[in-house]
Assembly symmetry: C2
Homo-oligomer: 135 residues x 2
């Protein structure tokens, strides 16, 4: 009896690990040796853009994964590099899609367009580079 309980407890602990694993692999496209289609977006804001305006832009971008199903993973951050090769860019957003079809759904999505309207007036430079992520 005690042994069965131990086995079950072990199973429960391992099960939680398994769920985490499944969650983190959701952008893997079936049959494709890739972690997904990465969409790297960098911004440099115009001089004079206030910290509150920047915060509103950050929040608006961060809200997109909750509004657009085609986004299967999302992360972002502000530049903390030490090599002075960031070309003036201060923000990086990493959006991940499962497929080119999902990217094609994202780009003209009304919520994405709406974000563009919030961003546009403050944008000095933008860089967008997409790649299929492989090791």
């Amino acid at each position: 009896m005690l042994r069965n309980v131990l086995y079950l407890a072990m199973g429960a602990v391992l099960l939680s690990g398994c769920f985490v694993s499944v969650h983190r692999e959701e952008c893997l496209t079936e049959g494709k040796e890739s972690r997904g289609l990465r969409h790297v977006v960098m911004f440099k804001f115009k001089d004079g853009t206030s910290s509150q305006q920047i915060r509103e832009i950050e929040d608006a971008f961060r809200a997109l994964p909750g509004k657009i199903d085609a986004i299967c993973d999302f992360e972002w951050g502000t530049d903390v590099s030490v090599e002075n090769r960031q070309q003036g860019f201060t923000h990086c957003f990493l959006v991940t899609f499962r497929s080119e079809a999902d990217r094609a759904a994202y780009l003209p999505n009304p919520n994405h367009k709406e974000f563009g309207k919030i961003l546009g007036p403050h944008l000095d430079k933008v860089l967008v580079l997409d790649y299929w992520a492989t090791k």
Copy 2:
């Protein structure tokens, strides 16, 4: 007896899931709400760089995670964007560190410096932006 074997089999299956999970989370810094310190590196090669020379550079970068312990995750790919905002960059490498200390160990690492010698003669433009990855 049969029940014990079933419990063990279940444990083994779950264990494999757990290993995948641990592997994919290894860049999470304890106590930090981040997936790690991302180091985004983009290249544009000089006109006239041959496809073989580009392949040698790709292979040399891809070999670094096997040589430098400070790299806890690595992925890369070539530009497939459709918005023409890649500013001429054709390659993106995403190197992840657990800490600023690991980045500080990576930058002057002899293997990294050796890679720089292979890359340097063919490099037109480079962009490096680091960020602590958050949702």
